[in-house]
Each structure stands twice: as C-alpha cells, then as structure tokens.
C-alpha cells in the first residue's frame, strides 16, 4: 500500500484536536478507543525511518508512566470512601504535613480514580508521540518560519541525533560484550553512557557546524525548492479529528 504523503503540520493539528477531545470527553472507554485508533493509524502509516520507530518507545514510556502513576496514586493521597480492597500500613509522617497520608486503606474507588487519571495522561503522550513518529522532523523544520531558527537548529539536532543514539547504544553494548563485560546491572549502563554521551556531543557539534557553514539562518528569508502544499488528504485527516472534537 502506498503511504500517504501529507503536509508535516497535518498530523500535529490532528493530534491537538484528538487530545482536546479526549480531555473534554473524560471517558476512559473513549480514551482507550482513541489510543487504539491512533496506534492503528501509526502502524499503517509510519515510514521505515528512525522517527517512525520512535513510536514503540513512546508506548513503552507511557506504559511505565501509567504503572508509576497508579502506584503513587494508590499509595499517597486523599482517602476515597468505598469498597475496601486491602489495607496497607500507614507510614507515620510529622505533624507539619497534615492532609498527606502514605499507605492506608485502598478502596476500589481510589484504584479506579488513579487508573483513570493515569490513562488520560498516557493517552495524551501517545497521541503526541504518534504525531512525532508520523512526521519527518526535517520536513517539519522546512515549514517552520526561519525566525525561530535557533529553535530549528535544536530540533534538527535533537531529532537526528536521538535516533542515532539508539543505534549507537547497541553498537557500544556489542563492543563491551566483546570485551567480555557483563551487560547486566547498573554499572554496565554507566559503561555505555560515557562513550555514548561523548559521541552524541561530538555529533551534535558536527551537525551544528555543518548547518552554520551552509548559511542556515543568515538570510531571514528562505526560498523553497519544492514547496509543500496543503492537499485534500490533509484536510480529510484534520476533519476526522475535528468531527471527534465536535462530538465531545
């Protein structure tokens, strides 16, 4: 199937629309459906490029956030009355911290409320992660105005260096394995982090120097080699988000 070639802003507008709709609806079933739909769109439409692969990381990240958020929500917070599931020991806190309680009775209501809030946060992350993985950062840079050029340089550096980080990590870990080092535990990551940090710093400097010596940002006006046009398909994608937004 030929993939849609859309305007770089399309998916971002779409994402903003969906995010607002999700917040306005504030309905867990709708939110989960929305995340599912977004994931399907990404898996069908994403390109085989470094930013395309970033969606998997977004999913992992949001699952992790959901987990941590729920645990904290259950442990700390205002007790909500309802059906008791189980009781945790209460951690004694000094008297100058009134209103905060760690531990205590965990009710089904408290668990659901923590879960619902967590799911909402994760949905927003996933929706914007989808926009990021569907849009080439380089093309996005081309439609952004030149006067935010320092911002532009940072975007290009962040988006082209970060995906390379992933491949550098596996390369360095491989080399460390060949040195007969164990790949488990915290110290193994420290061994990876140092070469990685140094390499990505050097890489970013190289890129900034290359952009500078090619005159980026010297002229406030910039011509377009192949102007990116807004097409019917773009409007269609944006419309789907607007319809969902209208329903909310």
């Amino acid at each position: 199937m030929k993939k849609l070639s859309l305007h770089p802003l399309t998916w971002w507008i779409w994402a903003i629309g969906l995010a607002i709709a999700v917040i306005r609806f504030d309905n867990t079933v709708f939110t989960i459906c929305c995340v599912g739909a977004v994931a399907v769109v990404v898996f069908i439409n994403r390109e085989n490029a470094p930013w395309g692969k970033s969606f998997n990381w977004t999913l992992k990240l949001s699952a992790w956030i959901l987990l941590v958020r729920t645990c904290i929500g259950v442990l700390i917070g205002v007790p909500i009355p309802g059906t008791t599931l189980f009781t945790l020991p209460i951690l004694p806190l000094p008297s100058w911290m009134p209103g905060i309680r760690i531990g205590g009775t965990v009710t089904a209501e408290r668990l659901t409320s923590a879960l619902t809030e967590g799911i909402l946060i994760c949905a927003i992350i996933v929706i914007f992660g989808a926009a990021a993985s569907l849009t080439s950062p380089h093309r996005l840079l081309r439609v952004l105005p030149v006067y935010i050029y320092e911002f532009g340089i940072s975007i290009v550096i962040a988006t082209s260096v970060l995906p390379q980080l992933v491949s550098s990590v596996s390369r360095i870990r491989q080399a460390q394995k060949l040195r007969g080092q164990s790949l488990r535990g915290f110290t193994s990551w420290r061994r990876v982090a140092i070469p990685l940090l140094e390499e990505s710093l050097a890489r970013s400097l190289d890129l900034a120097a290359a952009m500078d010596s090619r005159g980026y940002g010297v002229n406030k006006k910039r011509s377009r080699y192949r102007p990116i046009k807004w097409r019917a398909a773009d409007s269609a994608v944006v419309c789907t988000a607007l319809i969902v937004l209208g329903l909310s």
Partner: protein, 535 residues
C-alpha cells in the same frame, strides 16, 4: 583566492600552538593538499578557511585569514556559505534532510535563491556527480561512497569558489575513493575551483595535488610542490619510499612517472624467489555454510572458510560487501541464519567473560567503543583486574605499543593512533588466540600504521595465534597480510596468498606493484630484496 597572513592559532587550555606564523596564498584553481601526523592541526587549518575555527570552536587566532577578499574576522561562517563549500571528516554527521534531492537543495534554500535557479543547479550537480539515479533515495540508505558524493554535491550547489574537504576518502574502498578524487580533479580543471584537501592516504591523492602544506605538529608549516616536500618528508607514500630505496635522484609522484624512471630496473631478469611453502598450521577458525541476513537482505551467503594458525588474513571488498558481517559472525555477535562458526573449539556465541577475552580479541571500527574509563590509567587497571593480572601489565604493553602516553590523559584526548594502541593493549592483555580488527587504519598516519603492522606481525608469529582484519587499505594489506579474502555481495570471490589476489586486480594493486609490474613485487622491501639477490 585564500590568503593566510601571519596566522597563529592556539586553543584554550592548551600549551602548544597549533599553527605558528603561517603565510600561505592559494591561487584560484589550485588543488592544495594538507598533510601531517594525526593531531597536528590539519582539520584546524581547513576549518580556519571559513571561520569555523575560531567562531565555532573557540581559540585565539592571531593574523588574518581571508577568502576572496573577505576576512573571517569580520564575516561569520554562515556569511561565507556562498563562497566556501566544506565537507567534514564524517559527512553523515552533517546531513540535514531526508532525501538526496532535499539535501542538495538545503544550502540554496538558506541562501534564498529563486526556485528556477535551484532546479537547474540541482540537475547540474546530479549529473556532475552521477547522482541522478539516487535523487529520491533516503540518505540513510546510501553507501559511504554515495554519501561522500552527496556531501560534495551539496557543497557544490551553492557554486562556491573554494571547496574544502577533510579526509574525503578515509572511509572509502579504493574504487570509490578513485571516483571521488577524479571528480575533484575534473572540477579543478573544468570550473577552476580551488580545492583544499587533507588526507592521510597520500598514495591516493598525491598525483592530483599542485602543492602541499606539511604541518609537523609543533606549529611549523612547510609549503611547496609535492616533489620538494616529499623528497625529505617522513610522511610519504610507498612510491616515494621506492624512489628513495632505489636511490633515484628525483622522485616521481605518479605511477606513470615512476615507471619511466625505473624501466631498466624492471626490465632485468630476476631469480624468482621460491614462494614460501604454505604452512599447514592447525586450524583455528572454521566457518561452514555461514549465512547472515539483515532486515531480510542477505549479508553473507553460505560462506565456508578455514583459517590456520600464524595466518594474517585480510578481508577486502567494496563498502557493503559483507566484511563487517563476517567479522561479527566470527566474534559471535551476529545472529546466524544458517551454518556454524568454530573458534579454537568454541562456538563464539556462547563465550562469556574471561573465556571470551582469552579466545577472541576484537577491535571495532570505533576503538573508543571499548573505552569508558576517565583516564588511560583507569582503563589499564580495569583490564588488569578483569584478567587477574598483576597491576601494570596492560600499562606495560601500552608503553611498548605506543610509548609516551601519559597515564592521566583522558582517552578522548588521545590521537587516533594512540587510542587504537590503548584499545589494542587492553585486548592483548588477556592474550587472546584470535585477534579481529575492523578497519583499523581509518585516520591513522603512516607512522602509526607502521607500528600497527609491526605489532600484528609479531602477534601472529606466536604459537596458535592468528589475525583477521577487514580493511580498504591496500598498502597495509601488502605490508602485513599472508592471505587475502575478497568478498563481493556476501560471497568469497577470491581467496589466496596476498601476492596472487592483489596482483590479479589493478584497482586493488598496491603502488609498488603498479610501478614494477610485471615483476611480482608488492612492497618496497620486496624490490630491494630481489635486487640484492640479483647482485
């Protein structure tokens, strides 16, 4: 065109000047080659031309550098973009767009050129560098040589008057390197472009250069014609060493000139040296029916080979022929689709920890991947601890390999050669049976290469040891390998003694053999030995 007047340069926190009082004028349409040992300031000299040094790097610059009348003191690098095209050491780090065509257009977009001009120029450059078939390709999928061409192309579209290239052929195989250099040669002659180029592999570029700037590392720079500079320079391609060894009065810088000068030497009859009988050492590495695939594409196709003790096997072939895949399979870090690998009786995939270290020593393309300590001392101690050796063993090996490395230096601050030396001594400290090196000579100067050759030959002579290395460097292979395996498209297309394989292909023949053909000599010492035997 380019004028350096009384230029001195010193970096912050450094006690030595990189350049001292350099005066140099480069005329329009000249091709100037910058040579010097690693870390001597070649890159700094190149980056001074468009002001990246000191605007981007810091440092104190005395004197003045001006290009076409505009001084880098007054104009920032961005303002020079229409005048100077610069291609860095690693072009892949400088790409800003996704596809070839967009990358080419980027520089013109920033210069705000009208659309019709851009279209015309992109087409011109696509034709000039034969990039037309690649125009819609994603840059990440191109080979090293193609990326290098795209980088040159994106510098050329702005119609600069000066093109600056930092080691443009260091990552390329001999054929791709030749392609890039002949394009540069044509640009100099057709468009009168001024080209400044830094390169270690002199044998590749020397014949194209009009003048040489030789930096010795202590701030002193010599400028002159290739013949003048190379006559006494310690940095010289094999062809010049040949002229010196034969005691010729003049030196030639191209194979053609040297052939004219040596016609009488070549013409004589020589006693044919008996080919050393191929030792049938014990088999150390055995590979059979090995296939590896990446993302569904085959990288190695059902490959079988055995490597015996005391062999130094050079694996050659184009970029993307499967050299690295083969080395990784030998080291046991590739997933094998079919077949098996056996190294000294072990399956390398199951090796771990100390057992792995004492069986296989692997030096990756970036030796710094192995290093993570904050100083040379910490690295050496770690290696001693890992191998349960008395303290100072690794440091001692390091002192033998590369004398004069301060233990307190951070590994990043070492020169390329020293860093390779450090990685090698860490690997050698565990006394592995097999040493595997992936492209060890990238960025190494002749002195460092000579050291490496000595170390590897010494290593391979011990009992039950062998060396496998992948490289593009024909001259290195001629100096040290006992056997060459030539890969193409994941298959072994040639496998034999170095002499047989290298002489059978003109593109991969070393300089000495090109000069001395049809005599079967690969290196200067072969020629000298044969002449002495004749006398």
């Amino acid at each position: 065109m380019i004028k350096f007047s009384n230029v001195s340069l010193i970096y912050p926190n450094s006690t030595t000047t990189v350049l001292e009082n350099l005066n140099l004028e480069i005329a329009e349409g000249e091709m100037v080659l910058v040579i010097g040992p690693t870390g001597s300031g070649k890159s700094s000299l190149l980056r001074l031309i468009n002001g990246l040094v000191p605007h981007h790097t810091g440092g104190i610059l005395a004197g003045d550098v001006s290009v076409d009348g505009s001084s880098t003191q007054l104009v920032k690098p961005g303002g020079m973009a229409h005048l100077i095209g610069i291609v860095g050491q690693n072009p892949a780090n400088g790409f800003v767009a996704d596809t070839v065509e967009e990358e080419l257009a980027f520089g013109m977009e920033t210069l705000n050129l009208p659309n019709d001009v851009m279209r015309k120029r992109v087409e011109e450059v696509l034709d000039l560098l034969s990039l037309a078939p690649l125009r819609d390709r994603s840059i990440a999928t191109l080979s090293g040589g193609e990326q290098q061409r795209v980088a040159i192309g994106s510098a050329l579209v702005a119609h600069p008057k000066v093109l600056v290239l930092d080691e443009p052929t260091s990552a390329l195989d001999p054929i791709a390197a030749e392609e890039v250099l002949s394009i540069l040669h044509r640009l100099v002659h057709d468009l009168s472009l001024t080209v400044v180029i830094a390169e270690h592999k002199l044998e590749r570029v020397i014949q194209f250069a009009d003048r040489i700037v030789h930096i010795n590392g202590a701030g002193v720079a010599q400028v002159g014609t290739p013949e003048d500079i190379l006559l006494h320079s310690p940095i010289a391609p094999p062809i010049v060493h040949l002229a010196r060894a034969l005691g010729l009065k003049e030196i030639g810088v191209s194979v053609r000139e040297m052939r004219r000068m040596t016609a009488d030497i070549r013409g004589k009859e020589y006693i044919e040296k008996d080919a050393a009988p191929r030792q049938n050492g014990e088999t150390i590495i055995k590979v059979s029916d090995l296939s590896v695939t990446y993302d569904g594409k085959p990288a190695l196709k059902s490959l079988s080979a055995t490597i015996a003790s005391n062999e130094i096997v050079a694996i050659m072939g184009r970029n993307g022929a499967g050299k690295s895949s083969l080395l990784k399979s030998l080291a046991g870090i590739s997933h094998l689709a079919t077949g098996f690998v056996d190294v000294s009786g072990f399956n390398p995939q199951n090796l771990k920890g100390k057992e792995r270290r004492s069986t296989i020593g692997f030096i990756p393309q970036e030796p710094s991947d192995l290093l993570y300590g904050q100083s040379v001392q910490i690295e050496c101690d770690q290696a001693d601890k890992d191998n349960q050796m008395p303290n100072g063993t690794t440091a001692q090996i390091l002192q033998q390999l590369v004398p004069g490395v301060l233990p307190t230096t951070h590994p990043r601050d070492l020169s390329e050669g020293q860093r390779l030396g450090l990685a090698l001594s860490i690997v050698l400290s565990s006394n592995p049976g097999v040493l595997i090196l992936d492209e060890p000579t990238r960025g190494l100067d002749y002195q460092a290469k000579k050291e490496l050759t000595r170390i590897l030959i010494e290593f391979a002579q011990a009992t039950r040891k062998c060396v496998v290395l992948a490289t593009h460097d024909v001259e290195l292979v001629a100096e040290l390998a006992t056997r060459v395996m030539f890969l193409a498209d994941g298959d072994i297309v040639a496998d034999g003694t170095t002499l047989d394989v290298l002489l059978s292909s003109p593109a991969f023949a070393p300089q000495v053999s090109k000069v001395m053909s049809p005599q079967p000599w690969l290196k200067v010492s072969d020629v000298v030995a044969a002449i002495q035997a004749h006398k």
